[in-house]
């Protein structure tokens, strides 16, 4: 690879790459996202590679191992171009058949097609699947078209064109104006205006400035940043380089969670390739501008998603936040001006530069522009990553894309915004999804986790879960967060154990207020949100635990009883075998029963019962 030094160099490289692609070329793409990995996509890809290598007739096929395609629940996913055939739940044994039937004879394999949950019709192409139909995959869509470790693939789809436009056709101030005009707001959670942040950082006094990409993604239930950095690392890098040029930053860091090894690896590869191509390093594209990026690994601390804690972590210190009286754009990494944006924010930048702020701001609502990627997970049929224009309703996301309830239980809420957000009840599902609407109802956009909850989810348990989560992740620096969350957790523990009393809820609310008002950083300030929103919308559930000593969702173990329905039990004995406390008695082929005093309420019996005879109340 030789260094790209001008616009024409880049154009020539792109043409060269495209000229090598033949018309009507068969491209078999196997999704290599982490979800598909769990279902065995590597075996599928290896089998494809092996057969293609051995069979001369198939050697023209291009095999592509892409990043996450979003529909993780149906993995491993294989698509075949140019026909656009979408196969799901593909196993290693299906590979020879796909090659001989679909690729060579053009025959569609029915058993690998997606079946529409409502119409029960088989769907052949990706664009007709309801899960994808409602989405507008502006940022995430490229994941399916490229192999993340090949810079040529990215160049082929127009990669680094925005960089060349920014460097040769725009002045740094113009870039900032363009980002400001686009209305892009930070995708990491708080939703601060990106252009404004860049401007503040550019204006901050100092020669040396830092650019940081936050891929700490600690919010449980959210994984879009992972999929972007794993699946299209160059788009993130390109955004960072443009940002650095606009702000006049000289060095960048991508802070990645240690739990995301593939994201680290692919980002590292992309950095090396970008250096070789002349997009990073000294005299980028012959412009005289110098900028380089390196990876900094996290250590598994949720608080490091907070900007000042993240900076402390990069400096090699304990990840404790500091007071933000002086913002990081003025004094950040090593006391120098630092501009920090989230992965998804950076990935949006090349799009805006390429297509213009007007185009970008035409998508979304008045104050929330563009698209947002959500991880739609929990008790919903179609789980995965979805990218939708801002302003779409929760109902459209959960029912049209998500396909509604998962196993017969009515959906009652959706949790957004991670541990800083809240639970939104089903009665508010007509709410448009944008930064301000979600905040108004007591939740927040957050980084984009959307965890669907149904009647089998106990909201007291969820509130307790988040408080314990945050208590554990609190860095311990300030007292309200460290001690307040602990006490809130104790109150919630007592309620779920049936030991709550008339004062529990008022005490909980009072503590929540103090923690929110007096904590040092965002973690503590927003920590009471899950509890307060649960109390606001699901107070009767709390009251049932306290006054009737009953858990309506049958989750809190001290308040529930397991039993076996005599009429449904087939006497297979599987439950008795798995029961850890030997609490299930019964003769083979006779109805079984549970000894309440021995039962540890682990629920194993319910999990294994094929006749659905185990009842819980």
């Amino acid at each position: 690879m030789r260094k790209i030094k001008s616009v024409s160099d880049l154009e020539r490289w792109k043409e060269n790459i495209l000229s090598r692609e033949k018309q009507d070329e068969v491209v078999v793409s196997v999704c290599g996202g982490t979800g598909c990995h769990a279902y065995g996509c590597k075996k599928v890809r290896d089998r494809f590679a092996k057969i293609i290598r051995k069979n001369g007739e198939l050697k023209e096929i291009r095999l592509r191992y892409t990043g996450c395609r979003g529909f993780c629940e149906r993995g491993p996913i294989v698509t075949i171009q140019p026909q656009g055939i979408f196969y799901q739940r593909v196993q290693e044994k299906d590979v020879p058949l796909i090659l001989s039937e679909t690729v060579q004879r053009g025959k569609i394999l029915d058993h690998l097609l997606y079946e529409d949950v409502i119409t029960k019709r088989k769907v052949t192409s990706e664009k007709d699947i309801p899960f994808y139909k409602v989405q507008s995959r502006l940022v995430l869509g490229s994941n399916g078209m490229i192999e993340p470790t090949k810079i040529e693939d990215y160049i082929g789809i127009g990669g680094y064109q925005a960089l060349s436009k920014a460097f040769f056709e725009m002045k740094p101030e113009q870039i900032i104006d363009e980002i400001k005009a686009s209305g892009l707001r930070g995708r990491g959670g708080a939703g601060f205006l990106t252009g404004k942040k860049w401007e503040d950082c550019r204006k901050a006094p100092g020669e040396l400035k830092y650019i940081i990409c936050n891929c700490d993604e600690g919010d449980p239930g959210a994984y879009m940043d992972r999929s972007l950095l794993e699946g299209n690392p160059h788009s993130v890098l390109e955004g960072m380089i443009i940002g650095a040029y606009a702000i006049s930053g000289s060095h960048g860091y991508i802070y990645v969670r240690h739990e995301y090894p593939l994201a680290c690896k692919n980002a590292e590869t992309a950095i090396t390739q970008a250096r070789k191509a002349g997009f990073l390093g000294k005299n980028i594209l012959g412009s005289g501008f110098n900028f380089d990026v390196e990876i900094a690994k996290g250590g598994g601390a949720f608080v490091c998603g907070e900007s000042t804690a993240l900076i402390a972590s990069i400096e090699g210190r304990v990840g404790e936040p500091r007071s933000k009286q002086v913002h990081t754009v003025t004094r950040g990494l090593w006391e120098k001006p630092t501009n920090l944006n989230n992965v998804e924010t950076w990935a949006n930048v090349p799009l805006i530069i390429n297509k213009g702020s007007q185009w970008f701001s035409s998508i979304g609502t008045e104050k929330s522009k563009g698209t947002k990627i959500f991880s739609l997970v929990g008790k919903v049929k179609n789980t995965g990553l979805v990218e939708v224009p801002m302003g779409i309703t929760l109902k459209e996301i959960i029912f049209d894309i998500g396909g509604g309830q998962q196993d017969g239980k009515r959906i009652k809420a959706v949790q957004t915004g991670g541990p800083s957000g809240g639970c939104i009840p089903a009665s508010l599902f007509d709410l448009p999804v944008d930064f301000d609407s979600l905040t108004q109802v007591g939740s927040m956009m957050g980084s984009g986790g959307m965890i669907v909850m149904d009647e089998g989810t106990c909201m007291v348990d969820v509130a307790k879960y988040f408080v314990h989560f945050l208590q554990e992740e609190s860095c311990g620096k300030c007292l309200p967060c460290r001690e307040g969350l602990k006490r809130m957790g104790e109150i919630l523990d007592r309620i779920t154990e049936g030991k709550g009393d008339g004062e529990s809820l008022s005490l909980l609310e009072e503590l929540a207020e103090v923690v929110a008002d007096t904590s040092l950083c965002g973690l503590g300030k927003t920590a009471p949100n899950p509890v307060l929103s649960a109390l606001r919308y699901f107070r009767p559930e709390f009251e049932a635990h306290i006054h009737q000593k009953r858990c309506p969702a049958a989750v809190c173990t001290p308040l529930i009883q397991y039993s076996i329905s005599e009429s449904d039990c087939t006497g297979c004995g599987v439950c008795a075998k798995i029961c850890p406390t030997q609490a299930i008695k019964g003769e083979k082929k006779q109805s079984h029963s549970i000894l309440a005093e021995v039962c540890s309420k682990c629920g194993s019996c319910k999990d294994v019962c094929k006749a659905d005879a185990v009842m819980v109340q």
Partner: protein, 163 residues
């Protein structure tokens, strides 16, 4: 134990303080935990106070000062996994291995860890065993994974393979 590798790891990061967390990760990968001797070496090479290194090593959850088991079992208890029954899997694992999260079995075979999100939320509950993800877990599947590892260990022993 031979700690020669530590110097090489620090060299790889050009002895930069910023790389402390990455250096500790690499040491942990090499020795399965962070032995005291290695932390002392890091302190002297990076010219940092040992207390600060100890602070970092104990603040971040990825690090362990005690040796971990041969097989690492990481259970995700992120929100998506939690609402889909993650806590039940944890109860089953605790029962199977007779240890609490963060502990290692007496025979040094298994370490049980609980994390707040593995980022594979669409197919929860998720378990990460020896570098492999297992999705849509239930108590039975979890039990079988442990049984399979135990069976493999036994047959390796029988065949004279050093475990």
């Amino acid at each position: 134990m031979d700690f020669e590798q530590v110097g090489k790891i620090i060299d790889r990061y050009k002895g930069k303080r910023t790389a402390l967390i990455s250096i500790l990760h690499d040491i942990q990968d090499q020795y399965n935990h962070l032995p005291e001797e290695t932390l002392r070496k890091v302190a002297s090479r990076l010219q940092m106070d040992l207390n600060d290194i100890y602070g970092v090593a104990t603040f971040y959850k990825s690090f362990s000062l005690v040796p971990k088991g041969k097989h690492s079992i990481t259970l995700c208890l992120g929100t998506a996994c939690h609402v889909r029954g993650g806590p039940k899997i944890l109860r089953e694992m605790k029962k199977q291995l007779s240890i609490e999260p963060g502990q290692t079995t007496a025979d040094k075979q298994f370490s049980l860890n609980v994390v707040n999100c593995l980022g594979v939320c669409a197919i929860g509950p998720v378990m990460f065993v020896d570098g492999k993800f297992y999705g849509e877990m239930n108590t039975l599947k979890a039990k079988r994974i442990i049984e399979k590892i135990n069976k493999n260990n036994k047959s390796k022993k029988r065949n004279g393979v050093k475990s």
